[in-house]
Amino acid sequence: MATQTQTQVVKLDTKQPNTGNGQSLTKLAIRRLLHDRLTLLAMGVLLILTVMSALAPVISAQLEVSSLRTDSSSTFLPPLSPGHLLGTDDIGRDQLSRLLYAGQVSLLIAFIAAFLSVTLGVSIGILSGYYGGVIDDVVNWVITTLTSIPQLFLILIVAAVLSPGPTTLILVLGLIGWTGTARLVRGETLSLREREFVVGARAIGASPLRIMFIHILPNLFSIIVITLAIDIGSLILTEAALSFLGVGVTPPTPSWGNMLTVSQTYFNLGPWLVVFPGLLIFITVLCLYVIGDGLRDAFDPTAKD
């Protein structure tokens, strides 16, 4: 009986804002997204890049190239050479194949790290926003401290202290990048805490955990999705920068960032080695930022159709 009443309260509330025709905000957002061509295009490009990276072994086998096989007789082949669509690098490895394998590493690190940091940020944000008091003070202190150190320096030392590698990198990026999300979620929770459905849930005896994660969390859905898209983008940039500087993913494991480290010494012999890894980083990040912006517009309750 009690649970039934609660779910009704929540449902009523999500229905209320903005729509006269009885559609939920999420449904409305999805409908808006389906009409937003730019965001759909970005989603398509990102999907293609992800699928191609995931299929790196298959594609390499089909093209009869390898990301590992070195060949001293065919170094620095330019793009569109026979057998090597995007050319070869300084020790004769096929660049297309290496780019795809590097994509696996870069995308995987950014996706997992972003999930980790958003999960952390949301949990910490809800807890500190809901409870306030000492918890809130401590959380604020930690956030101010972490944001006072230029983030790249902070990640740089932590990554250098722990030995470099994909797993370390995921942990470092995830454990440091949560502050922005936590701040956003905290602010939102502060205002949701006073809303009728939360007061109602508390009145019928729902536990704090239930209120936080069953009643408040669904209302944060739009914030979470938007932050996730933008975080993945900026984490790809950070990972690339760290790997470029030599404290992220280290060779022989390829990543888009560390492919650029090697290529900068061969400006004269193979300029295409500089162009393509960066171009892929740029396209991926651009897609994610466009998706983030598109989601923000789609979820905007004040927007008109």
């Binding site: 202190w141 101010t144 006072s148 150190i149 320096f153 500087l245 030599g246 650029l260 740029f282 651009l286």
Partner: protein, 366 residues
């Protein structure tokens, strides 16, 4: 105002404490450390290594070590009778290595008094080396900030005035595009363009713009004044300012749009002032106020960006110094740069808050 400033400075003490604690914990956990740096020679025996470790106080409890790093040890182990050997000690033992002889008096002053120790790699006081590099970073950073302001603000104002025009749309697209470009890749592409591709296309033997450094290589002395070596700062400053331009134009546009609907703007229009006067004297001046709060975040962004930009262009500043120190496991240098940039950031935030109140008469200190 003095009261407000003091309160803000007091409020930043817990933050500063957190930063030093975090930095120290990280440094203690790091592989390689002062003991290894001093005993890396092949002839050192394990006994010698232990002795050095004891003398450096590596085995002391963590809070003592942290305190020593923070405040130094010249007050912990003192020489009162002037014979050069310590005879008084608090918190730490007088005879640290256990050989029956008291140690030399402590000489470290601690980071709070500006003593960051010696670089493991260069064997020189860290503060001296930082002093040699601050000017280069300030030069690059302030040039980039200036370019960011001079380009970003007018672009933002025009985008807001001509909202939804082709210019506005182009600005918004550019600002997303620029923020998605990896800054180090932009640097590499520009170097490629100006030192390989363009000279080759034009049939030149030399790069159009220099690829690295703050000035042509000189044997002695520093660099000549900046106006004699403008070509060296062009590329790095452009790379570093790219995201500042994007950010400032976005903020300025949003701020102008907020101001646009204010009553005083309507009044100015109704008085019959020319649109240019309304926008620039009534609009832009008020729209600039919220941008004062952007100074602090802009500073952290510039410092982070400087680390990458300086590394690509071999710019001899703090950023490339720190990046090299990280790969060389030169922790005293890393700690010094991190703490100095953090303090600069905190000061930037305080300054922008004070500036905000000073500019905007509607807000009072309290």
């Amino acid at each position: 105002m003095i009261k407000y400033t003091l309160r803000r400075i007091l409020q930043s003490i817990p933050t500063l404490f957190g930063i030093t604690l975090l930095a120290y914990i990280l440094m203690s956990a790091a592989p390689g450390g002062p003991v290894e740096a001093l005993t890396s020679g092949p002839q050192t025996t394990p006994q010698q290594r232990q002795r050095v470790a004891a003398q450096l106080g590596v085995n002391d409890p963590f809070p003592i070590q942290y305190l020593r790093w923070l405040l130094g040890d010249d007050w912990m182990r003192r020489d009162t009778n002037g014979d050069g050997i310590a005879d008084q000690a608090i918190l730490i033992p007088l005879d640290a290595d256990g050989d029956g002889e008291p140690e030399l008096p402590g000489r470290r002053q601690g980071i709070l008094r500006g003593d960051f120790g010696r670089s493991f790699f260069f064997r020189r006081p860290v503060m001296d080396m930082i002093g040699e590099r601050v000017a280069a970073t300030l030069e690059l950073g302030s040039t980039a900030l200036l370019i960011g302001l001079m380009v970003g603000l007018p672009v933002g104002i025009l985008a807001a005035v001509y909202k939804s025009s082709w210019f506005d749309n182009a600005t918004r697209i550019m600002s997303v595009v620029v923020s998605a470009i990896p800054i180090f890749w932009l640097g590499l592409i520009l170097i490629l363009l100006f030192s390989v591709t363009l000279p080759r296309a034009l049939g030149l033997d030399e790069p159009i713009l220099p690829m690295s450094g703050r000035c042509p290589r000189v044997l002695l002395g520093g660099c000549p004044p900046i106006y004699q070596r403008i070509e060296h700062i062009l590329l790095p400053a452009f790379v570093l300012s790219s995201f500042t331009i994007a950010a400032y134009s976005r903020y300025m546009r949003a701020s102008m749009l907020d101001v646009k609907s204010q009553d005083y703007m309507r009044t100015a229009h109704a008085k019959g002032l020319s649109p240019r006067k309304v926008w620039f004297f009534h609009g832009a001046r008020n729209a600039l106020i919220p941008l004062a709060t952007f100074l602090g975040p802009a500073l952290t962004g510039l410092l982070s960006g400087a680390a990458i930009t300086e590394t690509i262009f071999s710019w001899p500043g703090l950023g490339s110094f720190a990046v090299n120190a990280v790969t060389q496991q030169d922790y005293p240098v890393v700690m010094a740069v991190v703490i100095i940039t953090a303090v600069a950031t905190i000061l930037g935030f305080i300054l922008s808050d004070i500036l905000y109140v000073l500019i905007d008469p509607r807000i009072r200190f309290n």
